[in-house]
């Protein structure tokens, strides 16, 4: 009892004497109610507005038949599939172009960024032109420019031009580069190729593991393993084993001339090429500049110290300069990756069936604008947050560990 009283007294003292905390709590609560109230008002307002205009609401439309066709899809899809599946097709198309774009933009960007520091006058000027020219042209313009180029009669023939006796000859006898897309041979659908894919994944995993083991070994004994050669042989040999075990298929699917187009094999559409080129090249210019400035930020004393230790230039770059530059590079690089992913929504301009394009069509056919916009926002937000989360984790991992 006495205990309870004293604890009550203490509480009272905190509230009355330490007024700052109370104020803070009150402000926090007030702010929370303001935000929550505002959100509720907007939601309620929307509901009333939609109801007054007799516009349908809710997400039940997602399970209805979409009724429209989509030009390219990585999963099976037909007009009798549901709206939800159509949106999934769009999301996968967005992811494909974003992941490929990020990979290619990073490769080109690092190459150009390192070249920009070259002591060769011509190389450094050329890269400077590349960077400043491309990053100052709006990316939408670049995408439309690429689309105009890949569908222009000036540059490419049509499928029909390959027909008949006087027709054109496909590149290497099997690759058709046309205004309707690039048609080329591809592996015939067979489970055996899955074996090869599993082998490849295992090979990559094992080589990373070996690299890890050899580092521990080096720390202990100072001896180095030829990690590169061991890893490469695993990556090359394991897919072959997988392929052999699963029946060693040899079927290749060649494109065949039909009435209107080539069927079979693999097709890359002009829309995809335009979007991928536009996004990649635009982002690569930014990444190049980020890499260049990242490398420049490493004090020259570090390089000089490496040289006076007698290290080779390659080792100095790989072991001294790049790891330090990386710490500077990662945060702005993350924001470029996010930009590229979000810019992929410009694909709608040339008709690449990405998430925005398909969501817009869905919105238009069903009239459910708030729902469609909400789905788009959630998808982009979660994709961006996932990317940012991963990049932040990587950034932390490579920062200095101060002891």
């Amino acid at each position: 009892m006495a205990n309870a009283i004293s604890s009550f007294k203490r509480t009272l003292r905190i509230i009355t004497m330490n007024g700052k905390e109370v104020k803070a709590v009150i402000f926090q609560a007030a702010f929370f109610f303001l935000v929550a109230g505002g959100a509720y008002f907007l939601y309620h307002n929307m509901q009333v507005n939609l109801e007054r205009q007799n516009i349908q609401t809710g997400f039940h439309y997602l399970s209805l038949e979409s009724g429209f066709a989509i030009g390219e899809s990585w999963i099976s899809y037909s007009p009798s599939s549901s709206y939800a599946r159509a949106i999934l097709v769009g999301f996968i198309n967005t992811s494909v172009v974003a992941v490929l774009g990020i990979t290619l933009a990073t490769l080109i960007g690092v190459f150009v960024g390192v070249a920009a520091l070259s002591s060769n006058w011509l190389v450094s000027k050329l890269t400077s032109v590349y960077i400043n020219f491309l990053r100052n042209l709006p990316v939408l313009l670049q995408i439309i420019l690429w689309y105009t180029i890949v569908t222009s009669p000036r540059f490419l023939p049509t499928v029909r031009d390959f027909n008949g006796e006087n027709g054109l000859e496909p590149f290497l006898g099997t690759i058709y580069m046309t205004r309707q897309g690039i048609f080329m041979p591809f592996f015939e659908a067979d489970i055996g190729w899955l074996g090869a894919a599993i082998g490849l994944a295992t090979g990559i995993f094992i080589s990373i593991w070996i690299r890890y083991l050899s580092r521990i070994r080096m720390d202990k004994t100072g001896q180095q393993l030829p990690v590169f050669w061991i890893g490469t042989s695993f990556i090359l040999v394991l897919p072959c084993i997988g392929w052999l075990l699963m029946g060693a298929p040899v079927g290749i699917d060649y494109p065949e001339m039909g009435r209107f187009r080539l069927s079979g094999g693999a097709t890359i559409t002009p829309e995809f090429i335009a979007v991928l080129f536009g996004l990649t090249i635009y982002a690569s210019a930014f990444i190049a500049d980020i890499v260049r400035s990242g490398i420049l930020s490493v004090p020259t004393g570090q390089v000089e110290a490496g040289r006076s230790l007698g290290l080779q230039e390659g080792v100095i770059m790989g072991r001294i300069v790049l790891p330090q530059a990386l710490r500077i590079i990662i945060p702005p690089l993350t924001s470029q990756y996010l930009n590229l992913t979000k810019n992929s929504s410009l694909a709608v301009a040339v008709g690449y069936p990405d998430l925005v394009s398909i969501s817009n069509t869905t919105l238009n056919q069903t009239g459910q604008a708030p729902e469609a916009i909400m789905i788009m926002m959630i998808v982009y937000l979660s994709t961006s947050l996932t990317t940012a989360f991963f990049m932040n984790w990587y950034d932390k991992k490579i920062q200095f560990v101060e002891r």
Binding site: L50, G71, R179, N364, G367, A369
Partner: protein
């Protein structure tokens, strides 16, 4: 890009707009604003197309002018907002435009779930296909495996999928929102066929094909759908719905009675026919019923002429005959309920 923002902003307008303020009185809003805001296409010859000085012409535009003349007394008090197929409904729902006069097909879903109301049909159309002559295609039934250029969010997009499914054929769509980009892609040879309403095909072939190349393209004989085109208004404003509907009916009725832009004044003052006197407001009552001036249809006819005049001014240059759109008394299905 622009479209994405327009859609997003329009969607935001649905969220934010206060329901008490944007009450159902569209006519009051038009009168106090002093102009009618009319949603039109981004450029389709014969229906709505701006010239080099920004002056809009076409059948859909003339309907906007007739409405402005009937409501405000002047056909010049119209603001035209060009809208893509994707933007048009959200723009109307959110109140960005008063009326959508934009070669838009009437369908059940649009009339109900989208919160819109179709008023009357100004053009009975149907969907067709256009192909390059070089393909030597004679019928839409031969299009199995073709790549087809199409605008997104249209009934054409759905009809196309239905038609190919019904005939067990396959196709690959190329879907581009911007009409200009889509036309460019088709005429560059990206697609084997182009599909939209037959009137749109005729207009595109004539106005958008590379110079002198119109004859390299043919329109296939099949019409695969019914596309009744007409103006659309928001759900929930019956008075404005009535006005748009009856201005169109009035223009059709005027053609039937032989009232034209050149004789309308004379008819109004001297006609003995009670039907004509009632329509033209010489015998008052109809205007009052609509909540408009008694000279409502006289002003509209003075501005753009009767339905037949509107048609003759805009559509024959596309090479289209009047067909279904003739008056019912001449073998078509254009028919107005009685103005009384």
């Amino acid at each position: 890009m622009k479209s994405k923002w327009t859609t997003a902003i329009a969607a935001a307008a649905i969220v934010f707009s206060s329901y008490s303020a944007s009450a159902a009185k569209t006519v009051e809003a038009i009168k106090s604003r002093g102009e009618l805001i009319c949603g039109v296409s981004t450029g389709l010859g014969g229906f709505s197309l701006p010239d080099s000085r920004g002056k809009w012409t076409g059948l859909d535009v003339d309907i906007c002018k007739a409405l402005a003349a009937a409501i405000l007394g002047s056909s010049y008090k119209v603001k035209y907002i060009p809208l893509s197929t994707q933007q048009r409904f959200t723009a109307l729902q959110s109140g960005e435009v008063d009326v959508l006069s934009r070669n838009t097909s009437w369908s059940l879903t649009r009339d109900t779930a989208l919160g819109l109301n179709f008023t009357a049909v100004t053009y009975y159309d149907g969907q067709g296909f256009m192909v390059p002559k070089a393909l030597e295609v004679k019928s839409a039934k031969e299009l199995d495996g073709a790549t087809v250029c199409i605008q997104p969010g249209t009934t054409s997009e759905l009809n196309l999928a239905d038609y190919f499914r019904a005939n067990s054929m396959t196709f690959t769509p190329v879907v581009i929102e911007s009409l200009q980009e889509l036309n460019a892609a088709f005429f560059a040879g990206r697609c084997d066929a182009y599909t939209t309403d037959a009137s749109g095909l005729a207009s595109t072939r004539l106005n958008d094909a590379p110079k002198g190349k119109s004859d390299d393209y043919i329109i296939l004989p099949e019409i695969i759908s019914k596309e009744p085109l007409g103006p659309v208004v928001r759900h929930g404003d019956d008075q404005f719905l009535d006005i748009v509907k009856w201005v169109i009916f009035g223009l059709v009725e005027a053609e039937e009675f032989g009232i034209t832009s050149s004789n309308v004044r004379e008819m109004a003052s001297s006609s003995k026919n009670p039907n004509i006197k009632r329509l033209l407001g010489t015998n008052p009552g109809m205007g009052r019923n609509l909540g408009l001036d008694e000279a409502w249809i006289v002003n509209a006819i003075l501005a753009v002429g009767n339905y037949g005049e509107i048609w003759e001014r805009n559509i024959p240059p596309l090479g289209l005959s009047r067909g279904l759109n003739k008056l019912w008394s001449n073998g078509g299905i254009m028919y107005s309920p009685p103005v009384r």
